[in-house]
């Protein structure tokens, strides 16, 4: 099997999942697509030294995460998100699932990119703290602090609805 064939198999098997995770990190379909394309090119370039498809997925996920963080660093320099101080006060009226999902999404998109990436990797990708640290290129302690800070901000954003939706930071499963 050639390198191209192996890579084609990897793309066919994992591309959709990688796109979905990238979308949760950046909140924009086109940006997610660009992010995954860039990560896949990097993965193809590194293919000879990855050998195992599991390594390829970890490499690609790391490329997506760190590239997203890098892109948003640039964006945040000139376009810092503005705070909406009243956002957390109005959530109690939105009880149904669609509204909850929308509020959670808006809260997630307001997080700094590193906190958002940590939450996506931990609660969507279901990675361990060590795997999340590898994907983000940081220490496990940083993952813990980023997740805790992100959940706290989401809790503030969601107000009362957070009790039903979010794990308590100190009871999150530590693996």
């Amino acid at each position: 099997m050639t390198r191209r064939d192996e890579f084609a198999g990897f793309v066919a098997a994992r591309s959709a999942a990688l796109h979905r995770a990238a979308y949760l990190m950046v909140g924009d379909t086109s940006l997610a697509q660009d992010l995954v394309q860039e990560a896949l090119v990097k993965t193809y370039t590194a293919w000879p030294r990855l050998r195992d498809p599991a390594n390829a997925e970890a490499y690609c996920r790391k490329a997506i995460t760190t590239t997203a963080i890098s892109w948003f660093r640039r964006k945040s320099w000139s376009e810092r998100p503005t705070e909406d101080p009243g956002a957390g006060d109005t959530v109690s009226g939105h009880a149904d699932q669609v509204a909850q999902s929308q509020w959670l999404w808006e809260g997630l998109m307001r997080l700094p990119v590193r906190q958002r990436a940590a939450i996506v990797l931990r609660y969507y990708e279901d990675l361990t703290e060590a795997q999340t640290a590898h994907a983000m290129g940081c220490a496990v302690g940083t993952v813990k602090s980023q997740v805790a800070a992100g959940l706290t901000k989401l809790r503030d954003h969601l107000g009362h609805a957070a009790d039903d939706l979010l794990p308590l930071a100190d009871t999150a499963v530590n693996r």
Partner: protein, 386 residues
């Protein structure tokens, strides 16, 4: 509770459709990248051979006599042209880029690369322009503290002329035109010095997107080179080390506490743990690369390359360190790739140029052999490598 968060994330992600991947395009892009890297690595080896040839051929052609002195002609015509826009370095009178090497006929003390060619200064302080293999003397700068600045992605180069008049003059040269270098403005006095660390220097900090940043009698100023509109950036700037770099409007300020980045000194954000008097901002101004000496009294220590995002996050680079090794950032190849000169371990035969991806921290050789380990070379950042 955790399940609800998971479910909501999965629902959100599942509701989005993505266009299918263009596998051929991915593979073509990947192959291009592999070829480029291999080409650059091979270029280092070929370039080293070219250096040897450049040094050997004049001696042979002279029939055993000493190599001819560089001519005093205003224009020297070199035998080859050099590619622009890639990795380059210089040693002696040879600039090497990709697979090519060009003997410019004068020792290169400092140089910069532009979109159109190269500009260098020799040990006598003469500034030369190199375009399409043609070497022209275009100006003068201080011979003991030569310093050139370039505007990334353009043809503009700047320096300070200390010899053409009673007071230093800030000069700008557009390499894309046939025009002579132009006096760019500034307020200077005849006792101003050239050295960055000296008291009251006339010092060119940077050119960024057509705006020149320098230190003159007013402090640090930003001068729009088109309109001559001038903004006082820092009236308290006392030397050439108060501003380390400017990219994309982002300024790296230095003071007694370290380095802070931002558009003004008042609003600049301190970079944690960054204490240095030199460094390179990435093209978009999102990260700062610098080096630190890591002491080790017993074994001799080493020098490490470090990158910090403007949000303060450290970006680890995968460069092996060893006793007495050094890794020094000297620029950025693009906004994701910092360029590093690396000596390797003490037993290494060659020093190498690396391109380190700040997204993954991985480094690849762009030039495997940039001369013997710890040999003096010149890199395209316009400064003396100390």
């Amino acid at each position: 509770m955790t399940e609800k968060l998971r479910d909501l994330l999965h629902d959100r992600a599942a509701g989005v459709d993505f266009a299918p991947d263009d596998l051929d395009a991915l593979v073509r892009a990947g192959d291009r990248r592999v070829r480029r890297r291999r080409g650059l690595a091979a270029g280092g080896a070929l370039a080293a051979l070219a250096v040897a040839a450049a040094l050997v051929v004049p001696a042979l052609s002279g029939g055993g006599d000493a190599a001819p002195e560089p001519t005093d002609n205003r224009t020297d015509t070199a035998t080859e042209t050099l590619p622009n826009g890639g990795v380059s370095w210089a040693t002696s009178s040879v600039i090497l880029a990709g697979d090519d090497a060009l003997d410019v006929g004068h020792e290169v003390s400092v140089y910069v690369a532009t979109t159109h060619g190269y500009v260098f200064a020799d040990p006598e302080g003469t500034v030369y322009s190199v375009v399409d293999g043609k070497v022209d003397a275009i100006g003068r700068t201080d011979e003991s503290e030569p310093h050139l600045v370039a505007d990334d992605g353009s043809s503009l180069v700047g320096w300070v002329d200390f010899s053409s008049g009673p007071a230093p003059a800030f000069m700008v040269f557009d390499q894309s035109t046939e025009a002579e270098p132009a006096f760019a403005g500034g307020e200077t006095t005849d006792d101003m010095s050239a050295a960055a660390a000296s008291a009251d220097p006339a010092y060119f900090y940077a050119i960024d997107d057509g705006t020149a940043y320098w230190r003159d009698a007013r402090g640090a100023v930003a001068v729009d080179l088109e309109t001559q509109d001038t903004e006082l950036v820092d009236p308290d700037a006392v030397d050439g080390l108060d501003i380390l770099d400017v990219q994309n409007g982002v300024i790296a300020f230095r003071d007694g506490k370290g380095v802070a980045v931002g558009t003004t000194r008042e609003t600049a954000v301190q970079l944690p743990g960054v204490v240095t008097d030199s460094g390179e901002l990435s093209p978009q101004g999102t990260a700062f690369a610098f080096y630190v000496d890591v002491p080790d009294p017993e074994n001799g220590g080493h020098t490490e390359a470090r990158v910090v995002g403007v949000d303060g996050s450290a970006v680890p680079l995968d460069i092996a360190s060893a006793t007495l090794s050094f890794a020094v950032p000297y620029g950025w190849l693009d906004d994701d790739t910092v360029a590093v000169l690396s000596s390797g371990p003490i037993e290494a035969r060659y020093q190498s140029l690396l391109g380190c991806d700040v997204a993954t921290g991985e480094c690849e050789m762009t030039v495997e052999n940039a001369g013997a380990a710890r040999a003096q070379i010149v890199l395209p950042n316009g400064r003396l490598l100390r």
